[in-house]
């Protein structure tokens, strides 16, 4: 039994060490995550070694003892164990050495992660809501805040300092490829630094149980060159463009004068609600409802008319619309790039 497990273990460990996707600490794309990943590798090496030692000790011990299995007679009382005592001391010493290595490694990584704090950083506020993320960028030009939701863009190679707060319950901000997770706690502001080292799309997800739709509180993360990032931010700063055709105009009419505007804001229109995500550049995002659905017109239309189907328990109420109106609204929203 032990032998079979022994043979299996490296295979399993190797498997676990290699695979990592767009939401995994195993495929670091940020300085912080890379630093922690190196600690993880150290841990795997030390702990794997210790585990093999335990298995080897148990296996050899049992094999030796098996030879005496047939022996009968009285139990042996307090046999002389001097060799074992020396072994115990050596074992304890080995554990102490192993722990010292790991504790030191842990301290160093902790320092490295905190080290980025001294640098100049882009300032971003992320606020947790049941069950979506409010995201605000400090406007480099005016010093005001540019708001978006559920999609975080980061400049490659630069440190972004994210200030984490919550408007309701405790959530946890976690983009594993780039950095460690940190909680969003009402009444507190936590700060986490993200220094991406690889461009592309990543995904984050709320990591602290926050109610019925905790499973659908994801975050798309786009890492781009500083130039592309600057272009994107400039785009976000702009108010929504005026609709170009009558269908889109009808869509805007419904959104900004109907119930949508009670909760959602579209800058440049009469919609100034604050309870739900800002929709000013909604159509430019990658997904709908905090990563629940892909950004397609069908998904948007379904989401508006029957949000409870895709995300049961969401705060978004169903909006009763005629098919033509639903079509106009979804076209208008998709047009908000």
């Amino acid at each position: 039994m032990t032998l079979r497990r022994l043979a299996l273990l490296p295979a399993v460990l190797a498997l676990s060490a290699c695979e990592g996707g767009f939401q995994s600490p195993l495929a670091p794309a940020g300085e912080q995550a890379a630093s922690i990943h190196s600690l993880f590798c150290l841990m795997m090496a030390v702990c794997g070694f210790m585990y093999l030692l335990v298995l080897a000790g148990l296996g050899i011990g049992l094999l030796r003892a098996r030879r005496r299995r047939g022996e009968t007679g009285e139990p042996s009382i307090d046999p002389a164990d001097r060799g074992l005592t020396r072994g115990l001391v050596a074992w304890a010493a080995l554990i102490v050495v192993g722990l010292t290595v790991l504790i030191t490694g842990s301290f160093l990584v902790e320092r490295t992660i905190a080290g980025a704090r001294s640098r100049d950083a882009l300032e971003v506020r992320v606020t947790g809501h049941q069950w979506w993320w409010r995201i605000q960028y400090r406007d480099p030009a005016t010093g005001g805040w540019i708001e978006t939701a559920n999609e975080l863009h980061l400049p490659l190679g630069q440190t972004t300092r994210v200030a984490l707060g919550s408007s309701d319950v405790i959530h946890s901000f976690w983009v594993p490829n780039i950095a460690q997770k940190l909680d969003l706690i009402p009444g507190r502001i936590n700060r986490v630094d993200l220094t991406p080292t690889r461009a592309g799309w990543f995904r984050g997800q709320c990591a602290e149980f926050c109610g019925i739709q905790h499973a659908h509180m994801a975050l798309d993360v786009k890492v781009d060159t500083p130039e592309a990032f600057a272009r994107w931010l400039a785009g976000q700063r702009r108010p929504a463009a005026a609709p170009a055709d009558p269908v889109l105009a009808r869509g805007r009419e419904i959104v900004t004068r109907g119930p949508c505007a009670m909760c959602h804001a579209i800058r440049g229109t009469q919609a100034v609600g604050r309870a739900g995500p800002d929709l000013t550049h909604f159509g430019g995002r990658r997904s709908v409802a905090a990563g629940t659905l892909a950004m397609t017109r069908g998904a948007v239309q379904g989401w508006i008319t029957q949000p409870q189907a895709a995300k049961p328990g969401t705060m978004m109420p169903p909006v009763p619309l005629s098919p033509a109106d639903a079509d106009a609204v979804s076209r208008y929203l998709m047009d908000l790039k």
């Binding site: 600490p25 499973a215 049961p312 328990g313």
Partner: protein
């Protein structure tokens, strides 16, 4: 253990003195530690089955991406009920039950220090079980996990009574656990057999003693914090309301002050089981007895210095994180020392590979994985990647199932003959062992990888694009095999109860005093008080066990000895059966349930509690013949 020189008449009297009332009356009034423990065990087995079914239901839901067979509400209720049941109603109570059953037997005693308190513990524990599961039958189920962090569990985000039920269920079980712990601690300190000095205390008794002390210092925290939560919900206190100067993080500190020691309160008795089983089945005295005792002490002490490692993602000061990282990792040293001692004993003994020992071997190979993944989560920066993912789900199942349930199954197989007088079927025992062991590892090892692939815990579904589907399917299949193995284990116990081979007093050749009693032990356990001259009295006094006579036979009496030397001090009356524990528990239940609805329940509910306790403690003695209230016309 009958002494041929004890006249049969005397023995007859002893049986009468310790007998319960017959039938239903005996059922409600018994204070026999063995009956009480059996009740605990039966309740726990039922709950294990129910919570296991919940787990299977969740595993079915997660077996494939985008499943819609469970609503998020049902899923959230399921994991909340599963976790709360397993931690509050199964793990801790089952260890107490083993202590309540075994400690007096291992000490050669006829009863616990406070027999009525043990009965009270069970009834109150049952109250906690009903508190959680009866509302569940009516569709009111806690839905916020086994730790309900405010503000999510506060008045604003959790209206209704789901969170109150959870909080008050905890109060029930923790009062029960505290009472049981005081009972066990006092028994170990003051009721050891003559000659059982501190170095001669069996390791399981040490483990239960230390677990009891930990309980006494840890559990008040969770009772307090859940009471504060109820107060926030019921009378608008502001303990956890950030807007009014409160702090939701205070809840976490108090909860984990209890929550981390809780793991070791579960683990230490398991380490006690392992030590006893390893010794018996290696047929040699355990190597490093003193080292194991010191390790247990070290674990008990360290347990109170590392609760913050559950809160690394909260954003506490870095210096604090460093300290708690080091303290948490330090636990590996005593745990590693214990592992060494067990393996060394096996290696230098002449082991017989019966089912109890198989469970211990399974314990070693799985628990060490849980311990090592524990070292990883103890590191503050690494934990900030691992916490709240499936890695942690895997980790604590390896610790709690591998580290506590496997030894428990081993202990169950080991002491079953003593409790019932019959042997379990070895064949079915081994089949169920391989199913549970194999199924568990197949089910839970992949979860480590899922966590590293970014799967958070407590999500009711996941998208196909996440790539978590195949490993989840493997995990679901493994869990199903393990649950089937568990059912087989219980079926074996039920079948063997009627059909098993007769066991005799000492079927495994064990060394400690419980094996000197008949199987199953009579209500008074031992005809005479054993005297101990070593750690392994049944091995050193192979031919005849030394005993002392002279305890009363015509009434219930136990021997009280000194704390360090275990020298006989006096003979203590042991209380007879009584309805008082049940009545008091019912009164306390009324108070606890009432206080969910109105704070005034604490006032009017106190009246029946006071009456119940007065009935309980009212000494039965002659009326006074002196003083102003003496009986005048006798």
């Amino acid at each position: 253990m009958s002494d041929p020189r004890t006249p049969a008449v005397e023995l007859g009297k002893l049986h009468v003195s310790w007998a319960d009332a017959p039938g239903i009356r005996g059922f409600f009034t018994t204070v026999d530690h063995k009956r009480i423990a059996a009740r605990y065990i039966v309740t726990v087995v039922l709950l294990l089955f129910l919570a296991g079914m919940l787990a299977l239901d969740m595993r079915l839901q997660l077996a494939r991406p985008d499943m819609e067979r469970m609503t998020p509400q049902l899923y959230n209720e399921s994991f909340s009920l599963h976790g709360s049941t397993m931690l509050f109603l199964v793990s801790v109570p089952v260890m107490e039950a083993m202590g309540i059953w075994l400690v007096p037997l291992m000490l050669g005693q006829r009863a616990l220090a406070f027999p009525r308190l043990a009965a009270f513990s069970y009834w109150l524990y049952l109250g906690g079980v009903l508190m959680l599961w009866v509302p569940h039958a009516f569709g009111i189920t806690p839905d916020l996990g086994w730790f309900e962090y405010p503000p999510l569990s506060g008045p604003a985000y959790s209206p209704g009574h789901r969170a109150d039920i959870w909080a008050q269920m905890i109060t029930f079980t923790e009062v029960a656990a505290l009472a049981a712990s005081v009972n066990i601690a006092a028994t170990v300190l003051k009721m050891r057999p003559p000659g059982m000095t501190l170095p001669r205390i069996p390791l399981f008794v040490w483990a239960m003693f230390l677990a009891s002390l930990m309980t006494i210092f840890a559990l008040p925290a969770v009772m307090m914090v859940t009471s504060m939560l109820i107060a926030d919900r019921l009378v608008s206190t502001q303990f956890f309301a950030a807007a009014a100067g409160g702090d939701p993080v205070l809840f976490q500190h108090l909860f984990w002050w209890f929550g981390h020691p809780e793991v070791y309160i579960i683990f230490l008795p398991a380490a006690g089981f392992v030590s006893m089983i390893v010794e018996t089945f290696s047929r040699r005295t355990l190597f490093g007895h003193a080292a194991v005792v010191l390790s247990m002490l070290a674990i008990a002490a360290l347990a109170f210095g590392l609760w913050v490692h559950h809160m690394f993602a909260v954003g506490l000061p870095r210096l604090g994180n460093d300290f708690y990282t080091a303290a948490s990792m330090a636990v590996a040293l005593p745990a590693g020392v214990q592992i060494f001692c067990w393996i060394a004993t096996l290696a230098t003994g002449r082991p017989r590979f019966d089912t109890p020992l198989l469970w211990v071997l399974a314990f070693i190979v799985t628990f060490v994985i849980g311990g090592l993944s524990g070292i990883m989560t103890a590191s503050a920066p690494l934990d900030q990647q691992l916490t709240d993912t499936y890695f942690v789900v895997a980790h604590f199942h390896y610790v709690l199932v591998g580290g506590a349930m496997f030894p428990l199954f081993g202990a169950f197989s080991y002491w079953y003959p003593k409790a019932t007088g019959r042997m379990l079927s070895e064949r079915w025992g081994k089949i169920s062992f391989w199913m549970v062991f194999g199924g568990f590892n197949l089910g839970f090892f992949p979860m480590h990888i899922l966590g590293l692939q970014g799967m958070p815990r407590r999500i009711y579904t996941y998208g196909e694009g996440m790539g978590w589907g195949p490993l989840n399917l493997v995990a679901s299949i493994g869990s199903a095999i393990a649950v089937a193995g568990g059912v087989l284990f219980v079926a074996n116990a039920a079948w063997s109860y009627f059909r098993g081979r007769a066991a005799g007093p000492n079927p495994w050749g064990g060394s400690t005093l419980e094996w000197a009693a008949p199987s199953p032990p009579p209500q008074h356990n031992f005809d005479a008080m054993p005297v101990v001259d070593s750690l392994t009295p049944l091995w050193t006094q192979k031919r005849e066990l030394a005993v002392m006579t002279g305890l009363a036979v015509d009434r219930r009496e136990v021997l009280v000895t000194s704390v360090v030397e275990a020298a006989p001090e006096y003979r203590q009356k042991s209380p007879p059966p009584s309805t008082a524990p049940l009545l008091a528990a019912v009164a306390v239940t009324i108070l606890f349930v009432g206080s969910i609805f109105t704070p005034w329940a604490l006032v009017w509910g106190a009246v029946p509690v006071a009456i119940g306790l007065t009935l309980w403690f009212w000494p039965q003695r002659e009326r006074s013949t002196t003083g102003p209230l003496r009986v005048r016309n006798r």
